[in-house]
């Protein structure tokens, strides 16, 4: 129903590092669950609109007024790593010669 490559592809999309035994278990579990879900194909949904939200809601704009918010110190208080007013993360951009 679902192969190892697909599991690894989806895990990469979800940014989840999986151990080998986890891949095997997920292959089995997701296979079973998706197989059970095929029952939905028995339902005719031609001309049925999807429901993404239980009740119709629209975007609500608030007045554009300045309000007090959190301080930078508060926001950074949970950061695993920070410097000055920034969250610090490992290098994202490759280093070029001369930079």
């Amino acid at each position: 129903m679902i192969d190892r490559e697909t599991i690894l592809h989806v895990a990469n999309l979800a940014r989840l590092e999986l151990k080998d035994d986890e891949v095997d278990k997920l292959k089995e579990d997701l296979g079973n669950i998706l197989n059970y879900f095929t029952t939905l194909n028995d339902v005719n949904t031609d001309d049925v609109a999807p429901t993404f939200h239980p009740f119709p809601i629209n975007n609500i704009f608030r007045e554009d007024i300045v309000k007090e918010s959190f301080s930078v110190d508060d926001i950074l208080s949970n950061a695993p790593s920070s410097v000055m007013t920034y969250f610090l993360v490992p290098r994202i951009v490759e280093e070029k010669n001369g930079n």
């Binding site: 679902i2 697909t6 599991i7 989806v10 895990a11 999309l13 979800a14 940014r15 989840l16 590092e17 999986l18 151990k19 986890e22 278990k25 997920l26 579990d29 997701l30 079973n32 669950i33 998706l34 059970y36 879900f37 029952t39 939905l40 194909n41 339902v43 949904t45 049925v48 609109a49 999807p50 429901t51 993404f52 939200h53 239980p54 009740f55 809601i57 975007n59 609500i60 608030r62 959190f70 508060d74 926001i75 208080s77 949970n78 950061a79 695993p80 790593s81 969250f87 993360v89 490992p90 290098r91 994202i92």
Partner: protein, 482 residues
């Protein structure tokens, strides 16, 4: 203190006539927690010092204006309380201390409630037994070898063990009602949107709802009166106006959901208990009939596709950059992979994988879109049923509390435990579970009452009336020693 007096109404009566003080009640609360918490494990964090400080700041002049004056409350550990860890029972959030308080919690505090601790749950509220907590498993106070249900098992067990008269839960597919049923207490999931979710860690945004646990319907109603209503911090919140209903029970037309009555997998003892209730209702002169929700059988696949899809998106924020665990890799991508790979437990990974798959290119139409269309048919079934009935009833869960470890290796059988509660979230309806009896093993059985959208006060009134007819007074045997 007698456990029967450990309700909001009785406590406030005691406070008013000065036969007991909030401080003495806190002594009672923390004493019981010290004695029984090691066995039951309801709490992840206790807030003893904070609670005693809060009691100091209560002014007796405000007892009439604050409906929860001096009432101890436990908070599910996926709701933020400023300055106290909010873990979601996950390693990935273990180091997280919120810098603000959830609106629902703040409203309880503003109404005079005293927060005493944060309760255990299935990691990120994903589960039906509280066994998916990354820290420890919670026991059912009625039988320590059994699960309290989930995901709000910590809160349900805390009320059941009479640690607290009131606790909060969140309900995405039954996470308030199913544990309430397993623990023999009342659990209420209000209509979607009536309680602000600001400060609740999101699981599935089109389904999540906050609600209260207590031992009596009047007590969950008191909590709901405080936490419901519009909040500017949650754009999905609804301007619900709490207004008590006092209608004669004879005025209600009741539908028994056929698909959750004559179904395989439902314990005969649970169904017999429901039959007893139906008999009582008929004796009271109510109109009770069978109704049909033909698409109900598809609720489980629809729910698991919708909920996991939304969860895979909501949980993308846990990346080790701004808060929580970080497992540093050689670059940012490896940091994401390792942080999430080690921070999330197996059920959360399973659901993120399922949701990511259902939303991924090439599968979206076949899974997520298809499920969202079948969801419409389920919503329509309810609408049609409510043309003829005011409330629908069914068992809250097909069985009573199961043993620890019984379902941990079979995700599908665990999911089936929520078969009766899940459809209610898909349609955003209010639902309440009340205890109606015990099975032969002495475990509580719950009745679910489902109402029309935004008719929360209507079903609370019905639930309260039926509660007084059934008169369920049993308590876990461990309370006999108090």
């Amino acid at each position: 203190m007698e456990t029967k007096k450990f309700t909001i109404g009785e406590l406030i009566k005691g406070y008013k006539n000065k036969s007991v003080s909030p401080r003495e009640v806190l002594d009672y609360v923390f004493n019981n927690i010290k004695l029984y918490q090691p066995k039951i494990n309801s709490f992840i964090t206790l807030m003893e010092e904070y609670a005693y400080k809060s009691v100091e700041s209560l002014s007796f002049d405000e007892i009439d204006s604050k409906p929860l004056w001096g009432i101890p409350v436990a908070i599910k550990d996926n709701m933020c309380v400023k300055g106290f860890k909010t873990t979601c029972s996950s390693k990935i959030l273990e180091p997280f201390t919120p810098i603000y308080t959830a609106t629902a919690v703040q409203r309880l505090i503003d109404a005079g409630a005293i927060v005493v601790g944060k309760t255990n749950l299935d990691e990120f509220a994903m589960g039906s037994s509280t066994e998916n907590s990354a820290f420890f498993t919670t026991s059912n106070p009625w039988d320590m070898d059994r699960v309290p249900g989930g995901s709000s098992g910590g809160s349900a067990s805390a009320v059941s063990a009479r640690f607290v008269p009131l606790a909060t839960g969140s309900d995405t597919g039954g996470s308030i009602r199913q544990p309430a049923s397993f623990c023999g207490v009342v659990g209420f999931k209000p209509t979607y949107g009536t309680v602000s979710r600001y400060g609740l860690v999101a699981f599935a945004s089109s389904l999540d709802q906050i609600g209260p646990f207590a031992t009596k319907v009047k007590d969950v109603e008191a909590a709901f009166s405080v936490i419901s209503g519009k909040d500017d911090m949650d754009s999905t919140s609804h301007p619900y106006k709490f207004s008590p209903v006092d209608k004669n029970i004879k005025e209600y037309k009741i539908g028994i959901i056929k698909e959750l009555y004559e179904t395989e997998g439902f314990d005969p003892e649970v169904l017999n208990s429901l039959k007893d209730v139906i008999k009582l209702l008929k004796e009271e002169g109510l109109k009770v009939d069978f109704c049909s929700l033909p698409h109900l059988e598809y609720s489980l696949p629809v729910y698991y596709l919708v909920a996991t899809s939304e969860a895979s998106s909501n949980l993308a924020r846990f990346d080790g950059v701004r808060y929580g665990l970080r497992v540093e890799g050689k670059d940012i991508i490896e940091t994401f992979l390792q942080t999430r790979g080690r921070g999330f437990g197996s059920e959360v990974k399973r659901r993120i994988m399922l949701g990511t798959y259902a939303l991924s290119s090439g599968y979206y139409d076949a899974y997520y879109l298809k499920a969202s269309k079948v969801r419409t048919l389920i919503v329509n079934d309810f609408e049609k049923a409510f043309e003829d009935y005011d409330c629908l009833i069914c068992p809250t869960s097909p069985t009573t509390a199961f043993k620890k470890g019984d379902k941990t290796n079979d995700p599908l059988s665990m999911y089936l435990s929520d078969i009766a509660t899940i459809p209610v979230n898909l349609a955003g309806l209010p639902g309440i579970s009340i205890p109606i009896g015990l099975d032969k093993k002495g475990l509580p059985i719950g009745l679910q009452i489902i109402g029309k959208p935004f008719k929360d006060n209507d079903i609370l009134n019905f639930a309260s009336k039926i509660e007084s007819i059934i008169n369920f007074e049993a308590e876990p045997s461990l309370l006999g020693g108090r």
